[in-house]
Structures are given as structure tokens and as C-alpha cells.
């Protein structure tokens, strides 16, 4: 468990260091710090409150998320042709971030509730499917295919862990994949992206420009990197402070830096899994699994996109990318994980963990 906390702490530091170089102006950094601080407070609150109590509000959260997701389609701010954000005063808020947590919560609640009935079709597939579907469809409509796919995967994982038959999960997944493929084929933007992913050289001045610049950044990084704040690609790479921040990290710190980042995410993911493994009850186990996979998969997909191993999606890198609501939510999730971990650990480590995470909050 100490590993989990240490990984968190290191990630926090990496976040602070890595976000600052791409922006000479303090504006990005300060806003990120505010969001981070809020997230930390939330995380500590989660630890103090304990994950079990979340079960009582899970349905409320879920409904709230649905309302927000529906509302964002109507009154959200349109950026780059997609309505994903609310604006309250000076702060942007992305409801799909909240929806991630809410969906994981409510699924964990449901599965824990109907635990023994999960092998049946109705309880095991239909009801949870009906729970997950509205969220997926609404996110999909924003449109935010990346998040929708991510949530779909996490849902599958949670249902599988909850004991649903393989067939019940795999068959809808295959059908969903087929439908997705069909929609891809008829959607020019998506199919362009796929094409450019496969033919990077041809499209590097157009659709593939971003991916090509990212690869260029990785290449420049080499083994040890060009050094802090020496990145040249950050002038050329679009979205370098959000989705493509990893490219800048890789350029400035080289292969060593990128391995450290990947390693930290892996460590986080594994400690999350260990925490879930040791969780004292089914709800905690499912919730921990859901959150671990949520963050782990999001990081994995982002890194793959940046390194050109997957087509462009539009998912942020957890803890590191610029973006307030995302960071706050991720920290909140971490708080829940820590809470689960503490519940499954001997008392002595509870104290250490608490102290450590408070230190994190003040960092």
C-alpha cells in the first residue's frame, strides 16, 4: 500500500514539474494548482469519510451525472465542434469527468447489491446495461468517442469482475465494436484520423500533423531528452498542454522520462488492483477495480495515442494534462482508492497513509 501512496506523491510532483515548462505564463500553472488543491481536499475528504458512505449517494451521483450530461448538450460551450464543457464564471467543467466516477460508483453499488444474481441474463447484463447505456449514449453525443469507449471498457471489466458470464459481456462488446466500426466508416473525420494514423507520412501536413509533430518530439527526446524547458515542439504541437503533454515530457526528459511516467502509471494501476484485491467487501473491490481500470486505461490510451500506437482520440493524461475538472476528479478517485486501501490494511499503515496523503495535499 505504501507503493500506491508513493506513486501518487511522485505523480503529483511529475505533474507540477511537467506542466510548468510548456507554459511560460503562470496562468496555466496557477489554475492547475487551484484545481489540484481542490482535488486534494476532496481526496482527503474521501479518505476521512470512507468509501463505504459513497454507496449511499451513488444513485444520486448517477442521476446528477445524467442531468449534467444532458444539460451540456444544450447549454455547453462548443469548442472544436464538440459540446463537452460547462462554464461557471471563469472555471470550465467537463461533466463527463464527473460521469466517469458516478458510473463506476453506481455500477459497483449495483453489482455488490445483486452479487449472487450476476450470472443471470437479466440481472447480469440487462439491468447494468440499462444503467450504463444512458451515460455512454450521452457522452457519445457530445461527441466524445474516446471517453465513451473508455467507459464502455471499464463497464465491461467491472461486470466481468462482478461475475457476469463471459458470453454476456463479450457478445455485446463485439456487437458494439461492429456498430462503432460501421459509424467510423461513414464519419469522415474519424475515418480520416484512422487513415492518417495508418499513413502518417502522407497526411502530416493535414490531418496527421499533430501526430506527426508528436512523433517528432519523441524522436528529438532520444535517451536523456533535450532538457527541462528546452522543448522546441511545444511551439509547433497543437494541444501540447493537454492531450499531448506526454510528447513534451518525452522530448524534454527523453526515454528515461517517458519510462518513469509509464512506470508510475503502471505502479498506480497495480497498487489500485492490490488495494481492490484486499478490499474487505464486494463494493470496495468493484469500486477499486473500476477506478484502477478507469485511470489506468485512460493513461494507457493517451500514451498510445501520443506515441502513435493508436489513432487520435482526445483523452487527457490523468494527473498531468492541463484541465481542472479532470485533475480534480482524478484526485477524488485516488482518494477513494486510498480509502479502500486503508480499509483493507492493518491499522499501523492507516496512520502512515493518512500522514502521507496530507503531505501530498500541502505539496
Amino acid at each position: 500500500m505504501i507503493i500506491a501512496v508513493l506513486a501518487l506523491l511522485s505523480l503529483g510532483l511529475v505533474m507540477l514539474y511537467s506542466v510548468s515548462p510548456p507554459h511560460a505564463s503562470m496562468r496555466f500553472l496557477s489554475r492547475q494548482l487551484v484545481a489540484g488543491g481542490l482535488g486534494m481536499v476532496g481526496a482527503v475528504a474521501m479518505v476521512v469519510v470512507g468509501y463505504r458512505r459513497l454507496r449511499y449517494v451513488s444513485v444520486v451521483f448517477y442521476l446528477l451525472a445524467l442531468v449534467l450530461l444532458a444539460a451540456v448538450l444544450v447549454v455547453g460551450v462548443e469548442v472544436h465542434g464538440a459540446r463537452r464543457w460547462f462554464r461557471f464564471g471563469g472555471i470550465q467543467f467537463q461533466p463527463s469527468d464527473f460521469a466517469k466516477l458516478a458510473l463506476v460508483l453506481v455500477l459497483a453499488h449495483y453489482c455488490a447489491h445483486c452479487q449472487s444474481l450476476m450470472r443471470t441474463f437479466r440481472r447480469g447484463l440487462l439491468y447494468p446495461g440499462l444503467i450504463a447505456a444512458p451515460v455512454l449514449v450521452l457522452v457519445f453525443r457530445e461527441p466524445d468517442w474516446g471517453t465513451a469507449i473508455l467507459l464502455g471498457c471499464v463497464t465491461m471489466v467491472m461486470l466481468l469482475v462482478a461475475g457476469v458470464r463471459w458470453g454476456y459481456v463479450v457478445i455485446p462488446a463485439v456487437i458494439g465494436g461492429a456498430v462503432l466500426g460501421a459509424m467510423l466508416a461513414v464519419n469522415p473525420v474519424r475515418s480520416d484520423r484512422i487513415y492518417s494514423w495508418l499513413h502518417l507520412e502522407e497526411t502530416r501536413d493535414g490531418v496527421g500533423y499533430q501526430a506527426w509533430r508528436a512523433r517528432e518530439a519523441l524522436n528529438r527526446g532520444s535517451l536523456l531528452g533535450v532538457g527541462l524547458n528546452q522543448s522546441r515542439e511545444k511551439a509547433l504541437l497543437p494541444e501540447h498542454q493537454t492531450d499531448f503533454i506526454f510528447a513534451i515530457i518525452a522530448e524534454e526528459f527523453g526515454f528515461v522520462g517517458s519510462v518513469v511516467v509509464v512506470g508510475l502509471f503502471l505502479a498506480f494501476f497495480l497498487s489500485g488492483i492490490v488495494a481492490s484485491w484486499r478490499a474487505p467487501d464486494a463494493f470496495g473491490m468493484l469500486l477499486g477495480t473500476g477506478i484502477s481500470f478507469l485511470i489506468g486505461l485512460q493513461a494507457l490510451i493517451n500514451l498510445m495515442v501520443v506515441s502513435g500506437a493508436a489513432p487520435n482520440k482526445g483523452l487527457a493524461l490523468p494527473f498531468i494534462s492541463y484541465g481542472g475538472s479532470n485533475l480534480a476528479m482524478m484526485l477524488l478517485c485516488t482518494g477513494v482508492l486510498v480509502s479502500i486501501a486503508l480499509a483493507g490494511s492493518p491499522g499501523a499503515i492507516v496512520q502512515v497513509g493518512l500522514a502521507e496523503s496530507e503531505e501530498t495535499a500541502t505539496a
Binding site: G206, G221, V262
Partner: protein
């Protein structure tokens, strides 16, 4: 209680994700550690972030440093439609009058072209369009000011900070200028045929496209490689500065050029010919002081005067007519066949030779050869040539440079035609010596006359004096060069004596006589040989002369193509007055010491000495 199944599944899936992470590390190692050189990752691919910058083209100067052609720094106004985005209407409205473009044209240029109707993803648009090239610097400043003043309409619900950022980006980066140059000819049509003109073309370099001026004709073409600058390139944090091209300094004197063009324009009005041309040469060096041709054009906008593009001074091929007689007589003197005092029977204007009649304009009886030149008798000259023989005549005509290009560094020079003797008819020996059955350019004629003026050395025409770098350091100096000796000084002095007679009351060129200078010269009137016949009514009138006759400073040819017959068509009546007008003004400008009537031309003074007694050039006169 929990079964074992969930944990097994969890372990399986967690391992899958772990494996994926490990695989990612391997992929990153492949990308970052350069195990292989293939793939899109290579040094070459960084090239596109460079931008090429044009090098400034060198200037063309006259012999006193007056700028005849120069490249003025301007801006190429470009725009980034992806930044302009929501404000294109406002920008088009404020910039259209400044750039003198139609608002609708501008609007369509700056509207993003690749507009993905994105349902979620990023909108990728084109980020570079050229709005207008060669925009003057002051207009460019107005453009930047207009952009800074631009009132932004709020594009909708955006947070204020990002809006401000976007506005700043819009103001300072959405419309930007890159280096560009405009070829400018400050004196308009002055020396247009010598200078030529340029066209702007896009060349692809290793560092991206660059717009450069390339010479299309004239000195701009022949010196294109010297004039052209070396383009540089810029990258983030460095690059290579572009290098300026070399300046070309001509032998042409802008003031003399202006005088000549002025008088040619007057002649155009007076005689309404198809065209006129004139060349002024320094006989001792072959320096071209002026070379003009009318009608002319403005190299600033060459397309506006297509009919004036032709440089008649080097490309007009005509039968030289009587002016050619000097070549014949000079050679006869040189060979010792005759002296100027020897007499010849001019047959009262009609001579039957080789099965055809040869006529003189005015009938003459027995004349000394001095008078033959002075009166321009065809019969007298032809008889001399018969004694010379075709082989020797052909040789001499070639020696004087006819039938081959002079090598002046200008395009479109004609070589002229002198047929080899085996193609001559029986008549040729009487026609070639009086300037028929041959064709020559005015430049060839003036160089031949200069050879007689300078004491017998055929000079190669010199148009480019030197190449300088932008700091005035001489890179290449082109010295005067002689082609060959064509006559002895003694013969030349005798010829000058005869040619002086031609420009007197008794000669054919009395109209060329100057007030205070002695002039030596020869008229020419040739019926134009068109479509195989000598068409009556179309003449080429010319005069070639130099002054002061015994220490010549300037040799001038004036050629008038198809003058209006009602005004006159003889070289003596049409071309000689133009020569006089030009010569008087050049003499005044050069402050030549008068040699008439008080100053008796130095009989003991050789032309070679006269060359050393060069007249100090006058201070530069402003010419408007």
C-alpha cells in the same frame, strides 16, 4: 461471501493492462532510441519547420552611380486562416481597402479552407495563405496598425482569459508579413532596352518555396546570376541570413542616355517612323555611353508596352547603305590601291557593270576619292571595289566585325549577313561595297566607325564596367578589350579628313555640322529589302559620326526606320539633324573644349595622344 472467480478475472485483466504498459515501453524505446533509421522519423523531416527568405537582388547603376534598377524591400502579406477563424469578416473589411483588393476576394482567401464539419475532433484548417505580394512597407505598417486596432466581436461563450489570448494571437500572428522585394526602375523608361525587366517566380528550395525575381531580358537576364541574391532560411532560434546580390555598374551615363532618348522621342514625333535608335560610344574604349531605341516601354510594367520591347540598336538588321562605303574606301587606302587625291570617272550617274545599271543620286563627272566619300558616289566606290577584288573585300568586311555578333552582353543581338564570295553574283562586287547585299546592326556600324575614329582598332563594345558587392567593393572589373587592328593610323587620319568634308556645306551631311566642333561622319540611305525586292517608299536612313573629329570623344549612330517620306527619307536630311541635336547636348554636358573655328585641329596630334587628353566629366546634372 466473494467467490474466487472475480479475483481470477481481475488478475487476468490486470495482467493484460500490465502487458500493454510494458509493450508501450518497448514501443517508446523503438521511437526514441533510434534503433532503426527508417520510418517517418529522420533529420529531413525537421526541414519543413524552416522558412526560406529571399535574398535581395542587386542594383543596376550607371557609370556615376545613378540607380537605374533596384529592389525595394516590401512585404508579402500572409494570413493564417486557422487563427482568423471567427473574425474573417471584420478583417476582410478593414484590410481590403489597404491592400486594394476586393473585399469578397479577400474574404474567400482568409476563410479556413479545410473545414471539417467535426462532430467532436479538432478542426484542422489551412494555416497559410498569401494575400498579396510586394506590398510597400508603409502599407504594411498600416495593415499592422489596422490589425492592432481591430475591434473583436465576442465569438460566443468563451472564458475571458482564453478569449484575450485568442485576440492577441489574432492581432499579432494571424496576419503576418514576410520579406519580399519589388524591382523598381526609378527613371521609368530610361535605358529600358539595356536594363530589361524581371518576372517574379516561386522556386522550391530545400527550405520551402521562395519568391524571387528573375531577369527576362537585357542586363537583368545576362547578369542574372550576379544580380540574384542567395536566399537564406529561418528556423526557430537561428537560421542563415540571406545574401544580397551584386550590383552591376554599367558604362552607360544616365544623363547622356536621357539626352539621346529625349532627342529620339522628338524624332519619333517629327518623322513618324516605324522606329528609331541611337548608340553613343567612346571610340577609344568601346564604352557604350547610351543605347536607346524607340518606341520604348516601362520596365516597371513591361506588359504595358509590348510593341516597344525590341532593342533596335542591336537587333535591327538592315542594309547599311552608304555608311558602308567607309569600309571599302579605308581598305583601298590601306592596300595602297588608291589615294584620296586619285580621281575616278563617275560616269555621270549611270554605269553599266555586270549586266545592270548602277545609279548615283546626283550625276557626277570625274571626282577625286575625297569627293567620292563626301558626295557619296555609288559608282566611284564600286569602281574602287572592283580594283580591290571580292576576296579581299570579303575579308575586310569580316575584319570590321560584320556578319558576327559583337558580343555585347545583351540578349537578342543579331549577327548580320555577309555572304561568302562563292555565293556572290557578278553584281555583288559593285553592290557589297556600297552597303547592299549585306545586313548589319546599328551597333556593328558604330563600332566600325569607332575603329576609324580611334586610329584603326576595332573595339569590343563594353557595357558592363564592374560588379560590386553591396558595400561597394569591386568584385569583377571588365577592362576595355580590342578585337583587332583593322587599319593603320595614317589611313584613318586620311579617312577622317574625308569624312570631315562629308559633314560640310558641300557634303551630304551638312545638317550634322555642329557650331563649335568639327564632326566627321557619313550618311546612309538604304531602300529596305523586303520580301525579295527593294520596295520603293521604305527607307532606312542613318548617320554615323564622331566629334571632335581629330580627338574624338563620342561616336554616335542614329538610325531611322521607315521615316515618313513627306518629311524626308535621306540619311542627310533625316538622321543627320538628330545626330546634331544629340551631339550638341552631349558636348555641353561633357564640357568638351571647342575645336572650331579658332582652334585648328592638331595636325601633328595623333589620335592616340588625343585619347589621353580626356575631358574631365562635368558634375552630375540633374535630369528631369
Amino acid at each position: 461471501m466473494l467467490s474466487v472467480v472475480p479475483y481470477r478475472r481481475m488478475a487476468v485483466m490486470a495482467s493484460a493492462v500490465t502487458l500493454a504498459f510494458v509493450g508501450l515501453v518497448g514501443w517508446l524505446a523503438h521511437l526514441q532510441l533510434h534503433f532503426s533509421d527508417d520510418g517517418p522519423v529522420s533529420e529531413r523531416s525537421t526541414v519543413s519547420s524552416r522558412t526560406a527568405r529571399p535574398g535581395r537582388r542587386g542594383a543596376i547603376l550607371d557609370c556615376r552611380g545613378t540607380v537605374l534598377a533596384m529592389s525595394v524591400p516590401t512585404k508579402m502579406v500572409c494570413a493564417d486562416p486557422s487563427l482568423i477563424f471567427t473574425q474573417h469578416v471584420a478583417i476582410a473589411k478593414s484590410l481590403a481597402p489597404l491592400l486594394q483588393m476586393k473585399e469578397s476576394d479577400l474574404l474567400s482567401l482568409i476563410s479556413p479552407r479545410v473545414r471539417t464539419n467535426a462532430v467532436d475532433g479538432r478542426l484542422i484548417t489551412n494555416s497559410y495563405v498569401v494575400l498579396k505580394r510586394k506590398v510597400p512597407i508603409d502599407t504594411w505598417q498600416q495593415v499592422t496598425q489596422a490589425m492592432a486596432r481591430l475591434e473583436m466581436k465576442s465569438p460566443g461563450r468563451r472564458i475571458r482569459a482564453s478569449q484575450k489570448l485568442a485576440w492577441d494571437a489574432l492581432r499579432y500572428r494571424s496576419v503576418f508579413g514576410s520579406d519580399d522585394y519589388l524591382r523598381h526602375y526609378p527613371s521609368g523608361t530610361l535605358a529600358a532596352h539595356v536594363l530589361g525587366y524581371v518576372s517574379s517566380a516561386e522556386t522550391n528550395t530545400d527550405y520551402g518555396p521562395v519568391f524571387e525575381d528573375r531577369g527576362l531580358t537585357g542586363i537583368e537576364l545576362t547578369c542574372d546570376r550576379a544580380l540574384a541574391g542567395v536566399h537564406g532560411w529561418a528556423v526557430a532560434g537561428g537560421g542563415v541570413e540571406p545574401k544580397e546580390g551584386l550590383n552591376v555598374v554599367l558604362t552607360v551615363d544616365a544623363t547622356i542616355q536621357a539626352i539621346v532618348e529625349d532627342e529620339l522621342a522628338a524624332a519619333m514625333k517629327k518623322y513618324s517612323p516605324a522606329g528609331v535608335c541611337a548608340i553613343a560610344v567612346r571610340p577609344f574604349t568601346g564604352d557604350i555611353l547610351a543605347m536607346a531605341s524607340a518606341p520604348t516601354f516601362d520596365p516597371n510594367s513591361p506588359a504595358s508596352g509590348v510593341e516597344g520591347w525590341r532593342n533596335r540598336a542591336i537587333s535591327d538588321l538592315t542594309e547599311p547603305g552608304s555608311t558602308f562605303k567607309i569600309v571599302t574606301i579605308t581598305t583601298c587606302l590601306e592596300e595602297g590601291i588608291l589615294t584620296l587625291e586619285d580621281t575616278v570617272d563617275c560616269e555621270n550617274g549611270r554605269w553599266w557593270y555586270g549586266g545592270a545599271w548602277l545609279h548615283d543620286v546626283h550625276p557626277y563627272g570625274v571626282l577625286p576619292y575625297e569627293k567620292v566619300i563626301c558626295k557619296s558616289s555609288n559608282i566611284g566606290t564600286a569602281k574602287a571595289a572592283v580594283r580591290l577584288g571580292p576576296g579581299r573585300l570579303y575579308q575586310v568586311v569580316r575584319n570590321f566585325g560584320f556578319g558576327q555578333r559583337t558580343g555585347i552582353p545583351l540578349p537578342t543581338e543579331a549577327a548580320g549577313v555577309i555572304r561568302p564570295t562563292n555565293q556572290w553574283s557578278k553584281l555583288s562586287i559593285t553592290r557589297v561595297p556600297i552597303g547592299q547585299e549585306v545586313s548589319a546592326t546599328p551597333l556593328q556600324m558604330v563600332m566600325a566607325m569607332s575603329a576609324i575614329a580611334n586610329g584603326g582598332t576595332l573595339m569590343s563594345p563594353r557595357l558592363i564596367d564592374r560588379l560590386e558587392d553591396s558595400g561597394g567593393r569591386v568584385i569583377v572589373q571588365y577592362p576595355a578589350s580590342a578585337v583587332r587592328r583593322v587599319a593603320s593610323e595614317r589611313v584613318c587620319r586620311e579617312m577622317v579628313r574625308a569624312l570631315k568634308k562629308a559633314v560640310s556645306r558641300e557634303g551630304t551631311a551638312s545638317a550634322a555640322e555642329m557650331e563649335s566642333y568639327t564632326v566627321a561622319g557619313k550618311t546612309g540611305t538604304a531602300q529596305k529589302f523586303v520580301d525579295g525586292t527593294y520596295k520603293s517608299g521604305k527607307y532606312y536612313a542613318s548617320f554615323i559620326g564622331f566629334f571632335p573629329a581629330d580627338r574624338p570623344a563620342v561616336c554616335i549612330v542614329v538610325g531611322i526606320d521607315e521615316p515618313d517620306r513627306r518629311v524626308g527619307y535621306m540619311g542627310g536630311t533625316v538622321a543627320a539633324p538628330v545626330f546634331k541635336a544629340i551631339a550638341e547636348r552631349i558636348a555641353a554636358y561633357l564640357h568638351l573644349p571647342p575645336d572650331k573655328p579658332s582652334d585648328v585641329p592638331g595636325t601633328g596630334q595623333t589620335p592616340a595622344l588625343a585619347a589621353r587628353v580626356r575631358v574631365e566629366p562635368a558634375p552630375k546634372v540633374s535630369r528631369q
